[in-house]
Symmetry: D2
Subunit: 155 residues, 4 copies
Amino acid sequence: MSPPAAESTNVSGWFEGMRHLYPVRVYYEDTDAAGIVYHANYLRFAERARTEMMRCLGTEHRSLMHSDGVAFAVRSLDTEFFQPARLDDPLTVETRVDKVGGASMHLTQSVFGAADSTNPLVLMRVRLACIDGDLRPARLPGAVRAALTDLTQEQ
Amino acid sequence: MSPPAAESTNVSGWFEGMRHLYPVRVYYEDTDAAGIVYHANYLRFAERARTEMMRCLGTEHRSLMHSDGVAFAVRSLDTEFFQPARLDDPLTVETRVDKVGGASMHLTQSVFGAADSTNPLVLMRVRLACIDGDLRPARLPGAVRAALTDLTQEQ
Amino acid sequence: MSPPAAESTNVSGWFEGMRHLYPVRVYYEDTDAAGIVYHANYLRFAERARTEMMRCLGTEHRSLMHSDGVAFAVRSLDTEFFQPARLDDPLTVETRVDKVGGASMHLTQSVFGAADSTNPLVLMRVRLACIDGDLRPARLPGAVRAALTDLTQEQ
Amino acid sequence: MSPPAAESTNVSGWFEGMRHLYPVRVYYEDTDAAGIVYHANYLRFAERARTEMMRCLGTEHRSLMHSDGVAFAVRSLDTEFFQPARLDDPLTVETRVDKVGGASMHLTQSVFGAADSTNPLVLMRVRLACIDGDLRPARLPGAVRAALTDLTQEQ
């Protein structure tokens, strides 16, 4: 009579080589009166994908904050919107780690529709800073930095 | 080198008897400065769960609108908030169909945390109307009504 | 060449007798692919209006938390959606205080369009609890309670 | 006994020379569990400010769509996040028109806190396209283009 353990059923996406892939479905909440996904909501999709990539690497926001006293903050975000997505569309967010520094990282995140896996609908270049509880720059915890750096090495 | 077909990897939840279960993960976007999920966001979770329950039954919003010319609108919503959810929490939204009318349906939707499958964090009683493109009441398409009615029959 | 002091230019609404009135404009972010305001967003409008009513009474969330160690949490919310609002619509949220207890309050909040000041588009009955930093029930600070109680006395 | 005409009480901001200024208040809905404004929400603030700048110039989204058959879509958005804003903060969004083309425009939008009118918290460079109902590039209506072009002429 009980719901299944939710822990096991949420989607964290998966890695394909160095790329992390994360599926997103478009709901009414994501769309606007123009009938398409409201532009700011792609940033929410990207943040979900980053969170799940970190979870795939063994790290959660809350444990990062509690055990290491750090969090990630978006410092800059360059976004190009090529094509719109619509209600009910199944999307995939691809995340690549471009560069990892002592207290920051650079990612490229692309949102793909189901019909075209070459040309993204939206392309984002994101720079994240590692910060402490007072929002000041902090060093990336060693294990996190190592795991992220591994993802920058093309094999 | 291409992302996998997104179609197959999105989560639509599943039925357990008459109950539809849908997993949701709490992201930063869902929380507020009190450190918990912002109350209005449970309504977004519930709408995602309703959408996926309909998809499990073979119906999508967009095709409903295009082929039948109808959509669902929330008419009333009674919500009780018992316990807060927090960042990174895995949640499950349980949806039950209480009653199906000619142009409406009544659902009960409960949001559960991972630790307790008996006492929901949030409980919603939702009345939905079937409407046409001019936002006027419309009859539920026969197949949809039949599928929903099946879910009200306790076995 | 500097922007004017933002402090003085934000809208906090105003009282008309016992009713607090707060104007809201509908932007793209508030709408969905059905061309109307997404239902959960009326809860955001209502929370803005409650916040501004409290500000009119001399209280801000942040100072409440810092000096009194308390915040407000929504405990229950009964909502009826009568008519939709659309992009660019100017709305007014009316807030009435129905009852004030030692650690809770009951409000009625109505969202009106520009054309009809009698029949609300949306009607919400809200029960709020005063909670402390551990999310436990806490007594309303005396000055806040007195100010809110004044608003329940029809003159 | 009726609410005042909402039309007249919403804030559209104002021009100071070539700059449009628009006040925004930070509510719980805008913040996240880190205690600061969720990064994607600055894009919502910016879109509200653009909408109100257009309204100051005599144009509304809905009438643009109905009478001219066009709308604006964000094509690219470069954003830098310098300092966080917090709950209850009064902000000002400054919008400048950098360039107006036949079917596009470039804006710079800066979000300022109350304490510092020189260094923005967030800086956005936005490229907007004018599109028709099929989401294809369309020429800016003449009156809109003329009004926007006026704003690019430093006096």
